[in-house]
């Protein structure tokens, strides 16, 4: 009886005119009854694809996906925070460049520049870095990351940040 009803429904299923509850029944019967499957494929070969039921996904792959998504969300959040912290530094850097450029232009115009510039600034910077001790600037609880700041206390704008895995020793 069911098989008879099924065969009468094939045309309506293919034409997309079958109501949803009957459609569901049709798909279930298609998977379960090999005789009806044969006759359905004779009438419409593309019904082969309606026989593909939900294949279970691997739990490991799902867990890996969840970990990757949440890891990326946390990384993005951290990067946004760091970006916000970098802004004062960028403003200071832009201001410093303008001052230095202005000074050079002034000295060039007034003829005060002779020879080459001495790397005084670089030497000073190297010296500061050698003496600076790292401080944990941001430590995000429960997240496998720490952000260290290398800077002297008087000039926070020139901080250099390192994102470090706590499993590693500095």
């Amino acid at each position: 009886m069911n098989c008879e009803i099924f065969r009468e429904m094939i045309g309506s299923y293919v034409d997309e005119t079958l109501e949803e509850s009957r459609r569901l029944w049709f798909r279930t019967h298609l998977r379960e009854c090999s005789t009806c499957r044969e006759s359905a494929l004779r009438k419409e070969p593309s019904l082969l694809f309606a026989m593909a039921p939900a294949a279970p996904s691997e739990p490991e792959a799902i867990e890996a996906c969840a970990a990757a998504v949440v890891g990326r969300i946390r990384q993005d959040r951290l990067e946004r925070r760091l970006h916000q912290r970098r802004r004062p530094w960028l403003a200071a850097a832009a201001a410093a460049i303008m001052v230095v450029s202005g000074g050079l232009a002034w000295r060039t115009m007034t003829g005060g520049l002779s020879g080459t510039l001495q790397p005084v600034v670089e030497a000073q910077r190297n010296s500061d870095l050698q003496h600076a001790s790292p401080t944990v600037e941001v430590e995000m609880a429960g997240e496998e990351v720490r952000v260290y700041q290398f800077a002297n206390d008087e000039d926070a704008d020139t901080a250099i940040y390192f994102i470090v895995d706590p499993a590693l020793e500095l």
């Binding site: 499957r37 070969p45 082969l48 309606a50 990757a68």
Partner: protein
């Protein structure tokens, strides 16, 4: 907890709640995207991007629709974009790499014994004859069993357009099956 409660927690910044939503929905989304792309590994990349986009747009999620439908919409659109960008690369070496599927059922009435993985394998070989929209509509409706209205919501088109995509997809697949996979046709249908 149901989806709505997890979503509410996630909206308040609870990443663990969002991880739970990923666990619940990534399997189904992956299966659909993998069928559209005909590639299991690329599908996981698309699924991850879809969940990241969904996180960024969580405030704009309309609870009138199911979370699953909303995700399918994001994932399917990404898959369609992916297919478009991939098509030019594929064209370059398609002729060389296309493989003939090793068929299990080559005898009488193979179709009657066909199982789900065979249907997936055959689709993987034939899906290239469909446009990205036809692929998506056909996979969501015929293989994932979504209702026409849901498919229309996912693809952002009318139910009539969905039916048209499915009609065209079925026609193209029918033709290709007859030519390339006569094993799946009843004996009386084979040439």
């Amino acid at each position: 907890m149901n989806d709505h409660q997890w979503i509410q927690s996630a909206k308040n910044g609870d990443e663990d709640a969002y991880a739970e939503l990923v666990r619940r929905h990534s399997g189904g989304l992956h299966r659909a995207v993998a069928r559209i792309l005909a590639d299991d590994t690329e599908a996981w990349d698309v699924v991850q991007i879809a969940f990241l986009k969904a996180w960024q747009k969580l405030d704009r999620y309309n609870p009138r629709y199911s979370f699953s439908t909303w995700l399918y919409r994001i994932g399917t659109n990404l898959a369609i974009d992916f297919l478009r960008s991939r098509s030019s690369r594929e064209r370059a070496h398609k002729a060389g790499t296309e493989q003939r599927l090793r068929l299990v059922g080559t005898g009488e009435g193979a179709g009657a014994r066909a199982d789900s993985s065979e249907a997936d394998n055959v689709l993987q070989q034939l899906v290239g004859v469909l446009t990205p929209q036809q692929r998506s509509a056909f996979v969501l409706r015929e293989m994932e069993g979504l209702e026409t209205a849901e498919v229309a919501e996912v693809l952002g088109c009318s139910a009539t357009t969905v039916r048209n995509h499915i009609f065209q997809a079925r026609k193209a697949l029918r033709r290709e099956l007859r030519v390339r996979f006569p094993e799946y046709l009843p004996a009386s249908e084979r040439g």
